[in-house]
């Protein structure tokens, strides 16, 4: 089907458990993703929720092939990417990008903002790079002069905007945003979320938004995956999930959301 961006089948990821590695031989492996299958439609804003350690980041990173799955199939716009090596992935990389949680760590401290945004453009062989950098900065609401600054000269919210600008400058089809507001103060959080909402609308992005925070997900996302211990326990459109949660785990998550008014109920 042409309106699918991802078609994932039986995706498995495991990590070696080095703490239980015997003196000789291979370490036992921990299954982190236990055979996930799902589709993502173009234009969806996908929310991935679940407890800490449930495998949310691992799932996202496997989808953009920051790590190699043990087995399973990942069809991205009809191309099988699960088994590709780094050289084969390189030409595809501009189509799926990522925004990181901690912008201090994800921006190279020795580069100026302009260089940080231009780097991926150059690697992917784009032309008119300076104008694309300016355009990306403008889209995230930063003035041109910011391109001369170093990351440590920016506020947390501005840094995260640079991270967003770097991703959207490539005009990708898919962006993974992994806990991108959890390191920010409340007002920067709101601004970054507004920006993200606006970009999704204007660019027609498909976005996967990983978060602990169901109230943020509810506002932003059209579809939600609930992950528990490496399995998708619920996969439903946002309204349906909040109206009528099917799994006990989802219900527990919903009950844990602090409401502004104690008498209010989700409806």
């Amino acid at each position: 089907m042409s309106d699918l961006i991802y078609r994932v089948k039986d995706l498995r990821v495991s990590f070696p458990d080095l703490s239980r590695k015997p003196l000789f031989g291979a370490a036992p492996r921990i299954d982190v993703l236990k055979g996930l299958s799902f589709d993502v439609a173009k234009g969806d804003v996908l929310g991935i929720v679940g407890g800490s350690g449930s495998g949310k980041s691992t799932l996202g990173r496997a989808m953009i092939r920051l790590l190699r799955p043990d087995s399973g199939s990942i069809l991205f716009e009809g191309t099988e990417i699960a088994e590709l090596n780094e050289d084969e992935l390189r030409p595809l990389r501009k189509q799926f990008q990522m925004i990181f949680q901690d912008p201090m760590s994800s921006l190279n401290p020795r580069r100026r903002v302009g260089g940080i945004i231009a780097g991926p453009l150059r690697l992917q062989g784009f032309d008119n790079i300076p104008s694309r950098v300016d355009e990306a900065l403008e889209m995230v609401g930063l003035a041109k002069r910011f391109s001369e600054r170093y990351p440590h000269e920016l506020s947390g919210g501005q840094r995260q905007r640079v991270g967003i600008a770097r991703a959207i400058a490539l005009k990708p089809d898919f962006i993974l945003a992994d806990e991108i507001v959890s390191g920010l103060d409340v007002s920067s959080q709101a601004q970054v979320l507004n920006l993200l909402e606006q970009l999704v609308r204007e660019l027609g992005l498909t976005l996967a938004f990983v978060s602990h925070d169901l109230s943020v997900i509810r506002r932003l996302c059209t579809r939600i995956f609930v992950l528990q211990k490496g399995e998708i326990v619920e996969n439903a459109p946002t309204a349906e999930l909040f109206d009528n949660p099917k799994s006990a785990y989802t219900r527990a998550l919903l009950d844990a959301i602090p409401l502004p008014d104690p008498d209010q109920v989700w409806s």
């Binding site: 920051l66 992935l89 994800s106 690697l123």
Partner: protein, 283 residues
């Protein structure tokens, strides 16, 4: 905030100036030694033996810093000694840095079996006492400038590889590395364009430190007569000679020792100063 930063910045400036000036003087002295030396450093004059420096009684103004027990001019010998000290510092320091930092970067960023091999090698290397190792190597290689340089590189590369490995490892865990991967940068590209620039200040600080150490090692080897041919003036050789006549002519020991001390100190301070200077956060 601003004020505190201003204070942090003033210190490295002063450090850089003082250490840089001394090293510059030394470089000029080494380069122009044949022109500015008042005497032939090897010329003996037993009638002018143990002349004190110029401010003391009985000094000869022709021998500004006095003479040693064979009547050789101390100033000229020190100027020529600076040539050897600086050659060893620059060549041995740079080579050690290249070898050690490259291996450290490979081990720290590529990990896997490369790291396993390099780290084991470092462990084994560290088990040798360095001075004995140096003497042993010189005994095998024979004396001479090349042997000294080779010995320093062979012994000291571990200093770089250990530190650079740890640093490359912690930089490799940063998200900007993952982000470069997402952008399609190759492993080698990431190592050279993302990690190396962030490890560079540490490498520079280590490099200058290593240059100081090379000067000391050369002095030690000269001191035990394992450096280069005995008649060529070296600071270590001068210190060894001065030691035997410390009560009759303290200056024969003190001047080369002071030059050695200042040089080693300057190298390490230069490194610290440059490190701060390179750091965009402090700059």
């Amino acid at each position: 905030m601003r004020d505190a930063r201003g204070q942090v910045r003033r210190m490295p400036g002063l450090r850089l100036w003082l250490s840089g000036s001394w090293l510059l003087i030394l470089i000029l002295a080494a380069v122009f030694a044949p022109m500015i030396s008042p005497h032939d450093p090897l010329e003996q004059d037993l009638f002018a033996a143990r002349l004190p420096p110029f401010w003391q009684q009985g000094a000869d103004p022709a021998f500004l810093l006095g003479t040693d027990s064979l009547g050789r001019d101390l100033l000229s010998r020190m100027l020529y000694g600076a040539r050897l000290a600086l050659t060893v510092a620059l060549v041995a320091g740079t080579l050690t840095c290249l070898v050690g930092a490259t291996l450290g970067l490979i081990a720290g960023y590529y990990r896997g079996w490369a790291d396993l091999v390099i780290s084991r090698l470092v462990d084994i290397w560290m088990a040798f006492p360095p001075v004995l190792f140096a003497i042993l190597l010189i005994a095998v290689l024979g004396t001479g400038l090349t042997s000294i340089i080779v010995a320093i590189v062979v012994i000291d590369w571990t200093r770089f590889s250990r530190v650079v490995r740890a640093e490359a490892m912690s930089q490799g865990a940063m998200d900007y590395v993952a982000s470069a991967q997402v952008a399609g940068r190759s492993r080698l590209g990431i190592a050279l364009a993302e990690i190396l620039p962030n490890v560079l200040p540490t490498i520079v600080a280590l490099l200058t430190l290593e240059m100081g150490i090379a000067v000391i090692v050369e002095a030690i080897l000269s001191f035990v007569n394992l450096s280069i041919s005995t008649d060529q003036p070296t600071w270590g050789g001068m210190i060894a000679e001065g030691r035997t006549s410390i009560y009759q002519a303290w200056w024969v020991l003190v001047f080369p020792l002071a030059a050695l001390f200042l040089t080693v100190l300057s190298f390490s301070q230069l490194g610290e100063g440059l490190k701060d200077y390179f750091d965009p956060v402090l700059r």
